[in-house]
Amino acid sequence: MVPDSIVEAEGLGRRYGGRAVLQDVSFQVGPGEVFGVVGPDGAGKTTLLQMLAAILTPSEGRCRVLGEDVRRRASLVQARVGYMSQGFSLYDRLTVAENIAFAADIRDVPRTELGERRAQLLAMAGLERFQDRREGALSGGMRKKLALCTNLIHEPPLLILDEPSLGVDPLSRRELWKILDTARAAGRSIVFATSYMEEADASDRVLLLRDGRPLAMGTPAELRAGAQGRVYRIATAEPASIERELAADAAVISFQRLSGNEIRTQLRMARPPRISGNAVTLIEPTEPTMEDVFTVGSADAAPPISEAHAAPPAQQMGASVVVAECVTRRFGAFTAVDRVSLSIRAGEVLGLLGPNGAGKTTLIRILCGLLAPTEGRAEIAGFDVARQSEAVRVRIGYMSQKFSLYPDLTARENLGFFARAYGVPRAEFASRIGWAVARAGLEQIDEKPVGGLSGAIRQRLALACAIVHRPQVLFLDEPTSGVDPLSRFRFWRLIAALAADGVSIVVTTHYLEEATFCDRLGLMMDGRLIAIGALATLKADLGLSQGSVEEVFLGFIARERENERVT
C-alpha cells in the first residue's frame, strides 16, 4: 500500500540545547516526486533529512513518513526508507560486493532477489568490474554511487539523500543522477539536499531554507518566476570596468561573467543595475535560473559587495611564476601524474578540471613541494620545488580540500598561528593579519573555536591563513566544495582580487560554471593534462561556438577516450 503522501511534515522543528536549528517547516512529498532542499551552510538541511529518516527526534511539529509517525513509529520508518548521509557512510574495509550484501542482509532483502537486483544496480553504477575492490580504494564518485546502490537494494519507496553529489566530479554526478532517474521512474520518491542548483532545477519541487527557516517552496518554474525582473544580462566590451561598477551598486547581490563579454547579475529589487552605460552594448532582464533564485532568496542575508576588494587591474601579466616540465609521479605501478608540463604567469588564474582521481590533487601537492616528483622538475619563482623547498615555501600558499584549520582555536588564533609559522615579522603582524582578514572578507569574525563555524566561513578563513604571508602563488584544492552559490561567488571575487594583486592562482573545482572565473583551464584525465587554454580557445579547439563548460569538459574526455581506443 502506498499512501497518498510519502512525507507529511507540519511545523517541524528541532532545537539543540536552547538553539533552534530548524523551525516551522511544513511540506508534503507525493509518490514519485523529487523534492530538493537547498540553502546555505547551516540552514538546517541535514537536520531536516535526519528527522525524515526518523534517526533524529523532532523537537516540534508533526511528521509522517510513509504513513508512519517518525516519533512514535520510528523503527517502521527507519526500516523502509533509504538514507544516505553526507560524506562516506560505507565500510571502507569491505569490498563493493560485501557492502551490498551487508546492506541487503540488514534490510531483509529476500535472498532470491538479491542476485538480480545487485547485478542491475552495479551495472547501472558501472561498478561490475570493481565488485572485489575495497570501498576505501574507490574514487569519490564511485563510493557515492555504491552508497546509492546499497540504499536502493531494498527498493525503498522513499530515498533521503544528503548532498549526494558533494565532492563528486561532473561525470560521476551524471551517472549518479541516471541511477536516481531510474529510481524515480520506478515510482520512488526522492528527498535530497544539494548545493548544485542545476540539480535543484531538475527536481519537481524545491524547498529553500535559510537559518533554519523555510524561505520559499515551489516548483522550479514557480520559484524562478518569483525572481523575475531581478536578473539582468549585460553585454559589454569592457567587462572589467562594468564589474567594478556593479560591485559599487548596493542593490547588486552578485554577478558572474558568463563568457568573454557577457555578465549576469542579480539584484535586491526589480530594477536594472546602475551602470554608466558607454561600454554597455546590451542590458536586459533575463530568465532566472535556480542559481539566481538562490542568490536572490539569500539577498537580505548577503552583505553588500565591498569595493575595497577589487583592486586595480594587474599592472602586467608578467613572467612565468610556476613552471612544470614533464612532471611525473608514480605510486608503485600506478601513475598518478603523467608527464605534465605547464607554466603560469603572475596574476593568472589556472583552473584544473577533471574527474576524481585524475591527478589534480597530486599535481598540486608536487607543485607545493609536499610530494617529490618521480620524474621531471617544477619551479616556483625560479626555485626548484623538490630541492629548494625552503625558498619555495615562503612563496606559496596552500589550501587543502579539508580546509585544514585547527578546530579548537578561534579564527584570530588560527591566523596568528599561521602568521608566526610563516615567519611574518612581528612588526608587520597586525597589518598583515588585517590585510588577510580584509582580503578574505572576514571582518566580522566570531571569537569562538573554528570547529563550530559554518563551512563558508571556514573556507574564507582557510584562504586568509594561506595568504597571510603574501605568497606569490596560491594553490587551492577544491576550495568551494559544498559551499552554496552565493558564498562561492563571493569567494571567487576574493580570488579575482588576489589575482589582480599579481598572485598566481591554481585552483581545482567540480563546479564547472566556476571555470568561467579562470583565465585558463587545464583538463586532467588519468594523470595527464589533456588540454590547457582559455575557455574560448578550448571551445574553438572542439569546434564549438556555443556550449557550456560541461560540454567542453565532456567533449575533451570523449575525444581522449576515442584516442585511447584507437591507439
Partner: protein
C-alpha cells in the same frame, strides 16, 4: 626561527588547555588516581588469617600461639582439630596459613630436644604466601631464641633491626611517589603523541609542511606544554601528599630539575610513538600498551632483583625505573644530585636515543 617556535608553542598550549579529554586525563592522573592508589594500595600485608591445630594444649603451646598472633602479622582465625580440616578452609580462602603443634611439644622443648612444627601456607596468592612464610619463620626463631636463653642463661646474637627511610614499612609514601612518576610518564608519552598525530589526522600537518616550519621546531613546540604542565604538577601533588599526611622533604630545586630530565625522556617516547602511527587511535593504543613494559620494568610493581637477568638489563631502559629511584632518593632517603647523577645520565641517554630515532623517522615523512 624563534618567532616560529614561539608561535607554534603558544598554539600547542592553547590546544592542550582547550581539550576537555586531555585536561581530564591530566587532572585525573595527578589527583584521583594518585589519591586512590595511595590510600588503597599503600598497606602492608598484615593480619593474615592463621589457623591453629594444637595437639599439645599446654602452657608452652599456648605461648607459641600467643607469639604468632600477638603482633600485627597474624590473627587467630580458627582452631582446628586436625589436618583434614585444613584443605576445606584453604580452599574457601578462609585461612591463609595453618600451624600444627605436635603432641609432646612442651615436653620436648623442656628437655632441650628439637621439635618440628607443621606449617601450611596457601600458595595460591604468592604475595601473601611469601610474607606468611617469612613471618612464621621469624617469629618461631625469636621464640626459640628466647626460650633457649632463659633455659641456659646465655645470650645469643642481639639483632638490632633498623628499617631506614620508611620505618613503619608502609607503602603509602612510596606509592604516592610512584603514582607521581607514573602520571608523568603516561602524560609525557600520550600528550605529545596525541598532539602530533592529531595534526596528521586532521590534515593540518600538510598546511604546516608548506610553511617554513622545520621538523625539529615542531618537535620542540609539541613537547614544551607537556614538560611545563607535568613539571608544574609536582607542586599540587606535593600539596596533596601533605594533605594526606605524607611528609615530603628534600630539595625541591633538584626535584624540579630531575623531573624535567625525566619528562624529556617520556616525551621522547611520545614523539617516537607519533612518528610510527597515523591515527589517534593507533597512537593511544601503542602508548598505553607500550607503557606497560616500562611500568613493569620500573620495580614499582615487583622488585627488579627477582627478575631474570635479561629483564633486569632491559629495565635500565625504563625511564620510570630511574625516576622512581630519583624521587625515592630525594624524598625518602634525603639523597642529592651527588647520589642521583647516574640515573639522570641514564634518562638523558634514553631521551637522546628516542629523539634521534623519532627525528630520523619523522624527517622522512616531513
Amino acid at each position: 626561527m624563534w618567532g616560529r617556535i614561539a608561535g607554534l608553542t603558544v598554539k600547542e598550549f592553547r590546544q592542550v588547555l582547550r581539550d576537555p579529554i586531555i585536561l581530564f586525563l591530566i587532572v585525573y592522573l595527578y589527583s584521583a588516581e594518585l589519591v586512590i592508589c595511595t590510600l588503597a594500595l599503600g598497606f602492608d600485608v598484615q593480619n593474615l588469617k592463621l589457623g591453629v591445630i594444637d595437639h599439645d594444649r599446654t602452657e608452652a603451646s599456648r605461648s607459641v600461639i600467643q607469639a604468632l598472633t600477638g603482633g600485627d602479622n597474624f590473627v587467630l582465625a580458627a582452631q582446628l582439630a586436625d589436618m583434614r580440616q585444613v584443605e576445606d578452609h584453604l580452599q574457601r580462602g578462609a585461612l591463609d596459613a595453618v600451624v600444627e603443634i605436635p603432641p609432646g611439644f612442651a615436653r620436648r622443648i623442656a628437655a632441650g630436644r628439637r621439635v618440628d612444627l607443621g606449617v601450611v601456607v596457601d600458595g595460591s596468592n604468592g604475595n601473601i604466601a611469601a610474607r606468611a612464610r617469612a613471618y612464621v619463620i621469624e617469629i618461631l626463631a625469636r621464640f626459640a631464641q628466647e626460650r633457649t636463653a632463659v633455659q641456659i642463661h646465655t645470650h645469643g646474637v642481639q639483632p638490632v633491626l633498623r628499617v631506614w627511610y620508611n620505618p613503619d614499612l608502609t607503602n603509602t609514601r612510596f606509592m604516592a611517589l610512584t603514582m607521581l612518576a607514573e602520571a608523568g610518564l603516561m602524560l609525557g608519552v600520550v600528550l605529545p603523541a596525541a598532539a602530533i598525530v592529531r595534526e596528521k589526522q586532521g590534515g593540518t600537518i600538510e598546511q604546516l609542511r608548506v610553511t617554513p616550519v622545520r621538523a625539529h621546531e615542531l618537535f620542540l613546540a609539541k613537547i614544551t606544554p607537556t614538560i611545563v604542565i607535568c613539571s608544574g604538577a609536582v607542586f599540587p601533588v606535593l600539596f596533596i601528599l601533605t594533605l594526606l599526611g605524607i611528609p615530603v622533604q628534600g630539595g625541591i630545586g633538584t626535584l624540579l630539575a630531575l623531573t624535567v630530565v625525566f619528562l624529556m625522556s617520556a616525551v621522547s617516547i611520545g614523539v617516537f610513538v607519533a612518528t610510527i602511527t597515523n591515527t589517534l587511535q593507533q597512537a593511544m593504543l601503542v602508548s598505553f600498551f607500550g607503557l606497560f613494559p616500562l611500568l613493569f620494568l620500573s620495580g614499582t610493581i615487583a622488585p627488579i632483583e627477582s627478575m631474570p637477568g635479561w629483564l633486569q638489563a632491559a629495565s635500565q631502559a625504563s625511564p620510570l625505573l630511574h625516576y622512581v629511584d630519583i624521587v625515592s632518593g630525594l624524598f625518602l632517603k634525603g639523597a642529592g644530585i651527588g647520589e642521583l647523577w647516574s640515573h639522570a645520565a641514564a634518562l638523558i641517554a634514553i631521551s637522546a636515543a628516542m629523539f634521534a630515532g623519532g627525528w630520523f623517522l619523522f624527517k622522512r615523512q616531513w
